[in-house]
């Protein structure tokens, strides 16, 4: 069904002749006058008159243009949004500036929904590509994958947005489970982004997406390679490093898994939410038959996450979307918050949240500056409504994160108690069979390895229980498996 809708959208776009569209737009245009205040007053006169409802879309556009000329960007955007809702044709001439302002205020998803409804609106090819892209993003945010793929071909190869469109295509295909197909646009975009000198975070995000796609195809080696391309300085590095541990785990490299997850055990990540990292580490230790160590990991997990689970339950019950949003905003400014801090760490780098917070600050400033005229009041009502709506949307996003974490932790804590009972019986049997464990690495072998690494320009440092910031991500584990020969990967065969 979604695929059909996308095709219809495409057909509407292809079928719309620019000449016919332009004629419709001209009918709706109200001739602008010199002063933005006079324009706004003229638009207000139309909007205040219900008998002129047919002209309201054009009047909203005129009010938007006037507000923009007066320096009220957010107020202008909400006025244009009204025009787009009533009749996109009426706002046709303002599309480029609408898209610019939406981009500046990170309101592209909202505006994308509106501009993407009618591709018959006349616009130049560059604007058309932009409209297709923002509309595709809006569909992506809503999970309408078919619509996304239907719109992206409207971004031509020569468009500056083509690279972003290809990335979106790759990610969408991956969301559809078409991982093999997704790799083609993602890999070509990765090289293109590097050659085009796109910013480091863009390239790193792309590498992370490629790694995840390789992971999904079961190509763990390539997944590791691309997880490793996310630089340490990037906000996604802790996540990429953790996911790389999953790739090692799936590839059967338990030592590598434990080594990578050592980073997340460091005090530098004490305030981060990475329960899955601790669970994965416990699982790797279990498969190496390191049962006492696994029990220790489980106990540490319980001590750390049981109180958080209680806090999350309280937050889910007592905190509403507005309070959640304000709680994060206050926390980002080093103030108190009712939300568990580890859950908020990633929001420090969540560009969408940061942009929303900045845009809502801008909305507050504009609300204070809007004149107390009838058109100013009209714009203020709409702007306040949008600010409230956006606060609710972002607040709900934060609460969804709380809810996900709550469910995740509830499942993990319940499973762990069962696993612990199992482990204690394994541990008892382990001691009985300790004498037949694998061989220890000799000192001669160890020194040989150090010498080899030195030849490769590496330095080997001992781990002495201290965590140094520069060592995060560089741990190696040389522990042997303690599984007796009669058992395989933690599964007792006796």
């Amino acid at each position: 069904m979604r695929g059909v809708r996308a095709v219809l959208l495409l057909a509407a776009f292809v079928g719309a002749g620019p000449v016919a569209g332009a004629a419709r737009a001209e009918e709706a245009v109200v001739a602008p006058s010199g002063s933005y205040a006079a324009d706004a007053a003229a638009a207000e006169a139309i909007l205040a008159d219900p008998s002129r409802a047919g002209e309201h879309a054009a009047a909203w556009t005129r009010l938007g243009d006037a507000l923009h000329a007066g320096g009220w960007r957010y107020a202008a955007l909400v006025a244009w949004a009204e025009a787009l809702r009533l009749d996109p044709m009426a706002a046709a001439g303002s599309y480029p500036v609408i898209l610019d302002v939406a981009d500046a205020l990170d309101e592209e998803l909202w505006i994308g929904e509106l501009v993407g409804r009618d591709f018959a609106v006349p616009m130049d090819p560059e604007t058309r590509a932009r409209v297709a892209y923002v509309a595709a993003r809006a569909h992506f945010a809503a999970g309408r994958w078919g619509d996304v793929l239907g719109l992206l071909p409207l971004v031509p190869e020569r468009s500056p947005l083509h690279l972003d469109a290809e990335v979106l295509r790759g990610v969408t295909l991956a969301q559809q489970g078409r991982h093999g197909e997704a790799l083609v646009p993602l890999l070509t975009s990765y090289e293109a982004a590097r050659q085009a000198g796109r910013d480091q975070h863009f390239v790193a995000t792309l590498a992370l997406n490629i790694a995840r796609t390789f992971f999904a195809t079961g190509n763990y080696g390539r997944a590791m390679e691309y997880f490793d391309k996310v630089p340490r300085s990037d906000a996604f590095w802790p996540q990429a490093h953790f996911e790389r541990a999953w790739a090692h785990f799936r590839a059967g490299d338990l030592q590598g898994t434990i080594a990578l997850l050592q980073t997340h055990r460091s005090p530098f990540f004490a305030d981060w939410y990475f329960p899955e990292a601790e669970m994965l580490r416990a699982q790797a230790l279990y498969l190496m038959c390191k049962y006492p160590e696994t029990v220790k990991a489980i106990d540490a997990f319980t001590v750390r996450y049981e109180p958080m689970q209680a806090t999350l339950a309280k937050v889910a019950k007592d905190v509403g979307p507005r309070q959640a949003f304000e709680g994060v905003r206050t926390w980002l400014a080093d103030g108190p918050t009712p939300l568990p801090e580890p859950l908020l760490q990633r929001l420090r780098y969540d560009q969408r949240f940061l942009d929303a917070a900045a845009a809502l600050d801008a909305a507050d400033r504009e609300l204070a500056r809007l004149p107390r005229t009838s058109w100013g009041e009209r714009a203020a009502v709409k702007l306040k409504a949008r600010a409230d709506e956006r606060t609710q949307i972002e607040g709900r996003r934060v609460l969804a994160r709380v809810q996900d974490a709550r469910e995740e932790l509830a499942g993990m804590l319940a499973d762990l108690q069962l696993a612990k009972v199992d482990l204690l019986s394994h541990e008892a049997r382990l001691y009985e069979r300790a004498a037949v464990t694998g061989e220890l690495e000799t000192e001669r072998e160890r020194i040989g390895k150090i010498r080899e690494l030195r030849r490769k320009g590496k330095r080997v440092w001992p781990f002495e229980g201290e965590f140094w910031a520069d060592e995060l991500g560089w741990y190696r584990v040389t522990a042997r498996s303690d599984c007796p020969a009669s058992s395989q990967g933690g599964q007792d065969t006796e």
Partner: protein, 234 residues
């Protein structure tokens, strides 16, 4: 806190080989635990020198001579053959100033002036050996990687008598020199380091007024910045 990943550690470990025995089944071995020894940290060298041409500019001071104190400038050039060994050259110039003690003696009732020589310039070439690579940190958050090196250089030092000597020589003499040094580089980036060196120039110089060869020692400290010129060898 400090850590060493050096030839010294490797040496200690190698020595331990002579007394170490392989683990046998009867020994008590911890089962099921992850020990600190099971973990290590493998990092890239922060300031990879192998094959690189390292140049640096330094300010120096020779503060240990009671009669003459010498501010100076030095230029260093090191061609690294490996992470530890380099051909090392240093040229520099300065001007030895009379110390307060020298002036006191000079102005005393006996009208006696010590026969001291001041440093003017030097050019030295030799080897540099950096066997120690370490890092230090106060809190674990800010970490500085460094190396420690020793130098052995030979060359010539130009000195001048502090007591004025007329033309044609002006009391200037060229002294064959052997210089021993020890220092460290603190790496501030992939291609930049702060270098501190304590150098002792041992020289034999011919002194015109006494018409004798004399032994002299110029011990000084230099503090400078070094970096790689062009691409690295590796």
């Amino acid at each position: 806190m400090t850590k060493l990943a050096s030839a010294v550690r490797l040496l200690i470990a190698t020595a331990a080989l002579w007394v170490a025995r392989p683990a046998v089944a009867q020994e008590t071995v911890e089962i099921g635990v992850l020990r600190d020894q099971d973990l290590s940290v493998v990092q890239n060298v922060l300031y990879p020198k192998d094959g690189a041409l390292e140049v640096g500019g330094h300010v120096g001071w020779m503060p240990f001579d009671p009669l003459v104190t010498t501010p100076n400038l030095q230029l260093s050039i090191d061609k690294h053959f490996s992470e530890t060994l380099a051909l090392s050259a240093m040229i520099g110039g300065g001007y030895g100033l009379k110390t307060a003690r020298y002036v006191d003696i000079e102005e005393s009732a006996e009208a006696f002036a010590p026969y001291a020589y001041r440093y003017l310039a030097s050019a030295l070439v030799g080897v540099s050996w950096a066997p120690i690579y370490g890092k230090l940190s106060a809190t674990g958050r800010r970490v500085v990687h460094y190396d420690v090196f020793g130098t052995l250089r030979g060359g010539v030092t130009i000195e001048q008598s502090v007591i004025p000597i007329p033309a044609p020589s002006f009391g200037i003499t060229g002294a064959p020199t052997v210089a021993l040094g020890i220092g460290g580089r603190f790496f501030v980036g992939d291609r930049l380091a702060i270098r501190i060196e304590l150098r002792d120039d041992l020289m034999a110089e011919y002194r015109e007024l006494t018409t004798r060869w004399a032994f002299k020692q110029n011990a000084g400290l230099t503090f400078g910045v070094t970096g790689f010129l062009g691409g690295r060898g590796r």
